[in-house]
Symmetry: C2
Subunit: 248 residues, 2 copies
């Protein structure tokens, strides 16, 4: 249960502070953003391909995914988003959405009007760079997924995704004892990696067999990070998490 005293944008501020330094003025401006908070159950679209939204969605609690569906009805998930993310900031710049955004767990979502974000960027121009940077990291993750889907085998792909989720969740403070909350179904993992559910299942069994991880219910525990990262060819560079690593 969220504390009532907590601003709906707290998760956003935490997230941004994990990748950049914010001035007190910027933090105040973010806190002052008018946000309409809403509970949404799972498997609901927040915005849909073809929409022309006038607001953005801030994930406050839960997991959401961006995806698109083939003419033949096959779904490809492009990204998973965690609290603090605004998966559709891009709608500020691109009028028509080219993909959909939906919840994959029950969520708390904050809706922020475009006009308010535009005002924010006008008053705090440096935040434009911060959000631009965010969308660029997004794209870096797309590239890494593309590399996996196009050129890595199933086992490597699955291991890589789990490494990525673990690392990202850890970066926003959700890791404890090598364990992170990870409420994805094997079907969703398949849609993210371009694999069938059945094959994801068998691949996970192989990873379990190697004693690399335990993933049951909604938590993932990494038993041997070194070997898991190796199995997934995982190098976190592309996540650009290191604050020292950002451009001057």
């Amino acid at each position: 249960m969220a504390r009532l005293s907590q601003s709906p944008t707290q998760a956003l501020i935490t997230k941004l502070e994990s990748i950049t330094d914010l001035t007190p003025g910027e933090i105040d401006a973010l806190r002052a953003l008018p946000v309409r908070v809403q509970e949404v159950r799972d498997d609901q679209d927040l915005v849909r391909e073809g929409d022309r939204p006038t607001h953005c969605c801030l994930v406050i609690e839960g997991f959401v995914a961006r995806y698109k569906v083939t003419d033949k009805g096959k779904r490809q998930i492009f990204s998973f988003h965690t609290p603090g993310d605004i998966p559709d900031v891009l709608s500020l710049q691109l009028k028509t959405l080219d993909h959909s955004l939906g919840t994959i767990t029950p969520c708390t979502v904050g809706f922020i009007q475009h006009e308010h974000l535009r005002e924010l960027f006008q008053r705090q121009p440096r935040l434009t760079d911060v959000f631009w940077r965010e969308t660029l990291i997004d794209a870096a993750i797309f590239r890494e997924w593309m590399l996996g889907i196009g050129r890595r085998d199933a086992k490597t792909r699955v291991a890589h995704l789990l490494c990525e989720m673990f690392t990202r969740l850890k970066a926003v403070g959700l890791e404890k004892n090598n364990t992170v909350p990870l409420s994805l179904t094997q079907n969703e993992v398949g849609d993210a990696l371009g694999l069938s559910t059945v094959h994801v299942n068998r691949t996970l069994q192989a990873l379990r067999g190697d004693s690399l991880l335990v993933w049951e219910g909604r938590t993932l525990t990494v038993l041997d990070w070194g070997r898991l990262a190796e199995a997934g060819e995982f190098d976190k560079g592309y996540l650009h998490l290191d604050r020292k690593n950002r451009a001057a």
Copy 2:
């Protein structure tokens, strides 16, 4: 042979004008950008994964590609870039490059110091939005490729890529009589689509057999756009080419 009177940033200006309106002041500022022009032969890296560049690369002539290589030595190409593109603007925001950028044909490349671009954005803040928008369209293309690599079969993928290249080249004025210059090898197409060269070859034969296209030497001619677009499940929405379609 390029006219000497032409600014090295002309291709860039043309490109930007295809997706947005520029003010005379913005055009002047772009023209005034100090650019070091250089001829580069094919198959040369312009910047490499791990680099911390202090300049960006403007494609003036030729094709370049962004790519990354698997631990096992398999290459995945993320994007092809044509004259007017600055494939690595992202290095302004992300200090360390997470992928490489290389020529796939002999090229004319313009190098622009980061500091000059930063000054430009300071003086013409609206250009920040224009370039942000550019990188967002980049990401939209990544998503569409991901959908293809993950969820479409070889024939659809190849047809889709050819539709995309045709459309993009047409948008920058390089189409004539349903023909565009397309200097890609089948091997490069494979690396872009996550397919083996052999299979790309057989797939192209199928498309030729259907009288959808002719692709020989360095030009692609589309014989039946309607059926090719259908075969590739191609809908150009994701390219966000329509100027009327940009956010207010």
